[in-house]
Symmetry: C2
Subunit: 89 residues, 2 copies
């Protein structure tokens, strides 16, 4: 599962999540990810670009069509996670 190897890396899922409904600049993305270090962020962005999930546009980083598709696959998961979080308390 190459996809899991990619998404299993720290911050990978989070980055996609933060880009879910708007593009963000490198620095904005960094802040959104609790101040992740630029070296790690850059490394992840590189991998996510190679995977064609994100792309650098004129107004920052954004999900590609493929990235949006992936996001939709995760859509149910995000909803589900709220139920899950509630059930743990």
């Amino acid at each position: 599962m190459a996809l899991l190897d990619l998404l299993g890396q720290r911050w990978a899922l989070r980055i996609l999540w933060e880009l879910r409904d708007s593009s963000l600049t490198f620095r904005a993305l960094q802040e959104a990810c609790d101040g992740v270090s630029p070296s790690v962020l850059n490394s992840r962005l590189k991998a996510l670009k190679e995977a064609q999930f994100v792309d650098a546009t004129s107004d920052g980083y954004a999900l590609t069509a493929l990235g949006k598709e992936l996001q939709e696959e995760f859509g149910g998961l995000y909803q589900w996670s709220e139920k899950w979080a509630a059930s743990l308390t």
Copy 2:
């Protein structure tokens, strides 16, 4: 997203994936995960148990009902990833 923090850790997604259709012993799970070190495996299993995604049964580690639900949420993703992997070549 507490769920992403959990699943974003290395091996977490992989462990759930390896347990997708049968329970595995600690050592079998270790082998299935390319020989991940026992300390990390133990650490992940602990977290996944606390999250109630896996449980230690008489014949090894297995997904709980909640774990299976999560797996179903991922079901589409696994299929999708094959298409994705093919499109990258």
